[in-house]
């Protein structure tokens, strides 16, 4: 399927005559769209973050400008000005998607105005100009034919260009996240999601991502660094507001825990439905050893020690549960872990002196856990860095970032090592693995206890960040959410889990108006995902294969990437 660069060059010159009428049409549409952004869309300022002013585009209008600019970029590509790019990106598909997005977006805005203003009477000409522009774009790009593409793998740009691409991508992600979190208004947030989805779809169809993914594979380290940098810089975009940081911190804790679970489920293929209990074990250990007035353990070791103890305790729990059940079928493991989760919840709910020893205060939990303090640095205080105040949650955010980094390291390194190969082998065919001398039981047990260990670690920090631990934070549903984060994002892939965790924790915060239907949607989501995209949003290549055993093309594709990556030794790391 790898076509040599030569082929498309000739093709493009054939079915891509210099600016055709439809090309002009699309261009006109894009220009019109931009123009509309500088006009007033709506008469009511209170609506959609004030679109009522001429000449000064509001947030939503700027989004449309971005779409239009992208469209123009692809149009320029199409005119064959930059052949190298042209053969790489499918401008036709991208344009179609872009203009479709624009239309959908404009219509939605119109509807919102009609419903909330109320009445389209409150719409200003700018809105209709925009709609017309979007429509023109669509009309223009409608019939555009795609050019055959070269496989991105065969394209090699100078290293610094590729790295630049990654950096730019990261920057976009950073500002995108900051902007999205800034949106208080649910409607605006939804419209932003529409925009985001549309643009991403457009670029994906345009083949940009398959290109980027190859680049990313080539520069795995750079990518990691970039991602870390973005995560690190995020609090500085919040200029002191802790409101979003508390969410971000929770997302991070959630993601970290999910990563731990991903080792168990994603790599070793063991279904653990009681994982939250391990987080809870860590949290309770650290709460009981904290200086809280409700903590009933006299010994107050330094926090580092507590972290280690918490982690060890929960990994021991992991061993206790794992060692009997890992011998029997995986289905049993699922149910036993679920039962274990319940046992944990009931137990901490009981150990209050009336039923069992006085340890956890039962249902009251252990409140009033003091903030962490490393030397003079108290996590409770606000610290000003570079003139930007970083509040309590920002502090914990940074701490969690370190932990997350550590767990990601563990995850990736184990994944492509002797151990990782063993896990995959077990997942693929346990009997054969055993017959090849793989210590199946040992590896499974290690995955299980190791996952518990990491969760315990996260838990110890969570306790201080939460100020209190109560049994009702560790119910089965939370385990299900963790699992969902993995399924949603993509089993066995780090990026996937991060995406999944963010989606699951962020959307409920932002989409308050669907609050009551949240769980309903969640349940539906799981079913639909399993049915149509079981490998998740950002799957690891291998998983994608496992779930689509019949998909030959995909298999071939993975192979090429393999061959390609293997070609240059420095990125041998990047093997899936």
């Amino acid at each position: 399927m790898t076509t040599s660069p030569a082929v498309p060059r000739t093709k493009t010159s054939v079915n891509n005559p210099r600016p055709s009428p439809q090309w002009w049409l699309a261009l006109a549409g894009a220009v019109l769209l931009i123009a509309s952004a500088f006009l007033s869309w709506c008469y009511v300022p209170a609506l959609l973050g004030d679109l009522s002013i001429d000449a000064f585009p509001g947030g939503l209008q700027i989004l449309m400008i971005i779409v239009a600019v992208l469209a123009i970029f692809f149009l320029v590509l199409r005119s064959g000005r930059m052949p190298s790019m042209d053969t790489l990106l499918d401008s036709a598909k991208a344009l179609k998607a872009l203009s479709a997005t624009a239309v959908a977006f404009m219509v939605l805005v119109a509807i919102v105005i009609a419903l909330q203003a109320p009445g389209l009477a409150n719409a200003n000409p700018g809105l209709f100009v925009g709609i017309v522009g979007a429509a023109l774009m669509l009309a223009g790009s409608w019939q555009m034919a795609s050019d055959p593409l070269v496989d991105p793998i065969t394209v090699r740009l100078p290293g610094w260009v590729e790295i630049l691409v990654i950096v730019v991508m990261m920057a976009i992600i950073l500002f995108g996240a900051a902007y999205a979190l800034g949106q208080e208004d649910g409607t605006v947030f939804c419209l932003f999601l529409v925009f985001l989805g549309g643009v991403v779809a457009a670029l994906a169809r345009g083949g940009l991502f398959s290109w980027i993914s190859v680049i990313a594979a080539r520069h795995r380290q750079v990518l990691m660094m970039g991602a870390l940098a973005v995560a690190f810089l995020f609090p500085f975009t919040q200029n002191g507001s802790d409101a979003n940081m508390s969410i971000a911190t929770q997302v991070l804790i959630f993601a970290t825990t999910a990563l731990g679970l991903n080792i168990v489920v994603g790599l070793a293929g063991l279904l653990d439905l009681g994982y939250i209990a391990f987080l809870g074990a860590g949290a309770y250990v650290s709460a009981m050893m904290s200086h809280s007035a409700f903590a009933h353990i006299g010994w107050k070791p330094p926090f580092i020690v507590v972290v280690i103890i918490g982690a060890i305790v929960s990994s021991i729990l992991g061993l206790i549960i794992g060692s009997p059940t890992l011998r029997v079928s995986g289905d049993y493991l699922a149910i036993v872990t679920l039962a274990f989760g319940e046992i944990f919840r009931l137990t901490v709910n009981n150990l209050d002196g009336n039923n069992g020893p006085r340890l956890t205060n039962g249902p009251n939990g252990i409140p009033g856990i003091p903030d962490l303090e490393f030397g003079a640095f108290n996590f409770g205080d606000t610290h000003t860095v570079l003139g930007i105040p970083l509040g309590r949650f920002a502090n914990y955010y940074f701490l969690m970032l370190i932990v997350a980094g550590f767990i990601i390291l563990v995850f990736t390194r184990l994944n492509n090592s002797r151990i990782g190969r063993g896990w995959v082998a077990i997942r693929e065919d346990e009997k054969a693995a055993e017959a090849m001398g793989v210590n199946t039981f040992g590896l499974k047990l290690f995955a299980f206890a190791g996952g518990a260990f990491l969760a315990g670690m996260a838990g110890t920090i969570k306790a201080h960040q939460d100020v209190s631990v109560t049994p009702d934070q560790y119910i089965f549903l939370e385990s299900a959410f963790l699992l969902a984060a993995i399924v949603l994002g993509g089993m066995g892939s780090v990026a996937g889990v991060l995406v999944g965790a963010t989606v699951l924790k962020l959307l409920p915060e932002k989409l308050r108006f669907v609050a009551d239907y949240r769980l309903l949607i969640f349940g539906l989501l799981l079913v639909v995902m399993m049915r149509f995209r079981p490998e998740g949003l950002v799957p690891s290549r291998r998983r994608a294969l496992e779930f689509h055993a019949d998909d030959q093309e995909l298999a071939d594709r993975v192979e090429e990437v393999h061959l390609e990556i293997a070609a240059d030794p420095d990125t041998a790391e990047a093997k899936a």
Binding site: L271, I321, R327, D331, V487, D516, P534
Partner: protein, 307 residues
Amino acid sequence: MDLFFQQLLNGLTLGSLYALIAVGYTVVYGIVQIINFAHGEVFMIGAFGALATWTVLFQGQTSLWVLPVMIIGAVAASVVVAVLMERVAYRPLRHAPRLAPLITAIGISVFLQEAIRLFYPGAKSAMPFPRIDIVTGAALQLGPLTVRRSAIFTIGSLIVCAALLWYFINRTKLGRGMLAVSQDKDTARLMGINVDRIIAVAFALGAALAGVAGVAQGLQNNNIDFFMGFLAGLKAFTAAVLGGIGNIMGAVLGGLVLGVVEAMAVQFIPGTFGGSPWKDVWAFALLIIVLVFRPQGLLGARVVDRA
């Protein structure tokens, strides 16, 4: 000693409920080897089905003759849900990796709970279940023993259902077909058995019993809520594993054992680790212990490791 028998009776009543639900897990697992986590919700749907039937048809009616109709309503509701579930969610995943159906099941059960909570009028909190004169109402005194009328109904329905089920599986063509499929799907298919249909039937069977259980639970505890399925389902699965999953009589036995263990734990485990707050812990502990020492369960045959 009276207390012992009293608790034994309570335990058997509780166990009969578990058994009725557990059969559903076992039948389905025996045939398609998937754990239908959502089965607990099917049981819950059954209870609400009965309630709905009553509210629509005999609002205010309390005489015995409405009970059969309610049961039919319950069974209908749960069977429909279960079969739909199988058709829409499970069938497409029959050849997917083991993880897929399990996660789907979790999704379904959350979905069903929420659907009832949100869309069944008044289901946001516990709802009272209709009283039927003969079946609810004051308990009977047999010497020292206090026998709740609802208990008689529960245990009775278990006996009847088990008998019918045994007849269905061993004496009818469909039932033998099920046996065949559980032995070896592919061969059964070669023998001209419509496997899809058999699987659907298995789901339906389990659902029917769960529906009956739903009514029994309602009559016994005189209230139902959207969350009742979770713990009941978990316990029932425990029972199924206890008895040896895939083995119907095992499920029944497991259910009864589990129920009795819980009752006795409440009454006879001394000290701070006894009593009601720990009974579930003991029940689940029992599950783990059984898995350690007898993975195949009390009556089960050797479980082929399907890793």
